[in-house]
């Protein structure tokens, strides 16, 4: 019996290794290839597509930064994703507190409205949103990008915040009320502090979503100085670009910021995604 079980699990170990190694290679090889090709001149990429660079050069990066509008786009991406993530998280925690700890009957209706948003995608509102922004002067402004980012981040964030805050003991809040604290103080001094774990999950999911977002910046802005990284990379290194080295360099620039974040915080990122869909 024991022996049989050992051989069985041995078989599974081999299967598991083969499957996982193949999957890992398929995932990582294209990314690695992109990385080292970005240090090769165009001619070498054409002649020896797979070889490591014989004389690594930064020329592609120099050109990409010179013509690709990458610095401005990077800063825009930081601005759009940063501001909207902070706002989404704060607003969602505020709403989550209001919806779970105040005991008003209207809470259910509000909550229902917010969860409805989980089913609504950007392309179902993009036409009227475009018309609204062009007629109110929000078109091609940073506020005109940040506001929709916040709105689309809210449903998931509120789902997460309500289920977390519901679990905070009422006694904690009642004690503060007896001590004479008002609700806004309770929000800043208790709810925010106690909610740090869920805040991290919300922030990661929101930030990553915003950082990689394409359609809204693409359609709601027009100036080069308003573009985010994905949009600039698409117009600079898109399908029509024939300089492969330059294209690879731009793609690497688009990948690196998130990769660094992933490298530093991969445990929380993976946990965030794993748990994001749990909360139902």
């Amino acid at each position: 019996m024991d022996h049989r079980m050992k051989t069985i699990s041995h078989g599974w170990t081999v299967t598991a290794y083969i499957f996982l190694i193949i999957f890992t290679l398929i995932t990582v090889l294209p990314v690695l290839w992109m990385l080292y090709s970005s240090f090769k001149p165009m001619g070498e990429i054409m002649m020896h597509p797979l070889r490591l660079p014989s004389a690594p050069t930064l020329a592609n990066y120099r050109k990409a930064f010179e013509y690709g509008n990458l610095v401005v786009s990077f800063l825009n991406s930081v601005f759009y994703s940063g501001i909207s993530t902070v706002s989404t998280v704060l607003l969602a925690l505020g709403a989550g507190f209001a919806l779970t700890k105040f005991g008003y009957k209207s809470s259910k209706v509000y909550f229902g409205f917010f969860t409805l948003g989980l089913l609504i995608t950007v392309n179902s509102v993009i036409t009227p949103l475009f018309i609204m922004e062009t007629s109110t002067g929000l078109y091609n402004t940073r506020l005109g990008v940040v506001l929709p980012y916040i709105a689309f981040g809210l449903p998931m964030a509120i789902l997460l915040s309500t289920s977390y805050i519901r679990g905070i003991p009422d006694a904690l809040i009642e004690a503060a009320v007896i001590d004479g604290a008002d609700y806004v103080q309770i929000f800043w001094k208790i709810i925010l502090i106690v909610s740090t774990p869920v805040m991290a999950t919300m922030a990661i999911l929101t930030f990553l979503g915003n950082w990689n977002e394409f359609l809204m910046v693409f359609t709601l802005t027009s100036g080069d100085n308003m573009r985010s990284l994905p949009v600039s990379i698409n117009s600079f290194a898109g399908r029509l670009n024939e300089d492969y080295g330059l294209q690879f360099a731009a793609l690497v620039v688009g990948t690196v910021p998130m990769f660094i974040l992933y490298l530093v915080a991969h445990e929380s990122v993976i946990k965030g995604f794993g748990e994001g869909a749990l909360k139902e």
């Binding site: 079980m5 996982l20 398929i26 505020g94 917010f114 948003g117 989980l118």
Partner: protein
């Protein structure tokens, strides 16, 4: 006074989020609905035209092809990404291999990369100087091999579908792994001591335990596949001809290229209705399956 204070605090905390949400998501959906019955010529609304927009969209072969392509994306998401995600999660969860954290880290990487970068990278992978092409040339000893599937009227979507599989499978892997970890390990141990086969464990323990999250993931996959835009836009822009058109591209073209906001809005509404319909369908299947298990 305290009562007033409470009500005021409630609204202070709730309303900012609610107003932004209503103003940017709910209100435009209603506007979209209204606009979908209007006719536009040269940037101007010329009046109501009833269901004309819907009829002209639904009878347009380009839209029909887009719809079919979205269906293909949905199928690869629900029947490809989710089962593969479950398999990967299970292999990692059973601790048959060392370095599970390493595998998890590597396989999850694509989820952090933007669709635009992924699309352009894979275009290069399949290009004449790409790794895929070079690799095939090496095995087949055919130095002139090039990837032709992109031009195929029937199969042009296949590269896009493969890339989607590459991009999102690990997202489901991570979700399923988190849920597998909530099954008490004593359950597995007890089954193994009883001499249960691996297949029994999967069918009797794992899948029932994951059923709710499989449902959630299917909803996620369906609504995600109906909205897909970035990857297709950057990878093929719907071409060649319109072989890889998807509904969101069709919408984009009508709103932003032709400035026919009526038709663009009608496409939006069709996408919303499809999404709600399909999710209700999945919900129904799920409820039936639940009853069977009990």
């Amino acid at each position: 006074m305290p009562r007033l204070n409470k009500r005021a605090s409630y609204l202070t905390l709730l309303l900012p989020a609610f107003i932004i949400y209503i103003g940017i998501i709910i209100f435009p959906i209603l506007v979209s609905f209204g606009l979908s019955f209007t006719e536009w010529k040269r940037f101007k609304m010329t009046g109501f035209n009833g269901l004309d927009n819907y009829i002209s969209i639904l009878t347009d072969p380009v839209f029909q092809r887009s719809l079919w392509n979205n269906v293909q994306i949905m199928l690869i998401s629900v029947l490809g990404q989710i089962p593969l995600g479950i398999i990967l999660a299970y292999l990692l969860h059973r601790k048959w291999v060392r370095g599970t954290k390493f595998f998890e880290f590597m396989i999850f990487l694509p989820v952090t990369i933007s669709s635009v970068v992924i699309a352009l990278l894979w275009n290069r992978v399949f290009s004449p100087v790409g790794i895929y092409t070079t690799f095939v040339r090496m095995i087949t000893h055919n130095p002139d091999y090039v990837v032709k599937i992109f031009e195929s009227e029937k199969f042009a979507m296949i590269p896009v579908l493969l890339v989607l599989l590459w991009q999102y499978t690990s997202l489901y892997m991570v979700i399923f792994l988190a849920n597998l970890q909530r099954i008490p390990s004593s359950v597995f141990e007890a089954a193994l001591i009883d001499g249960a086969k691996e297949s029994t464990i999967i069918w009797k323990i794992v899948l029932p335990a994951l059923s709710t999250v499989i449902f959630t993931c299917s909803v996620l996959a369906i609504s995600g596949s109906l909205k897909s835009f970035d990857l297709v836009y950057a990878m093929t822009a719907g071409g060649p001809v319109n072989y890889t058109y998807v509904m969101a591209l069709y919408l984009y073209q009508h709103t932003f290229t032709f400035h026919n906001y009526g038709k663009g809005s009608a496409v939006s509404i069709i996408i919303v209705l499809l999404s709600v319909g399909l999710i209700s369908l999945v919900r129904g299947i799920y409820d039936k399956a639940q009853k069977k298990f009990e």
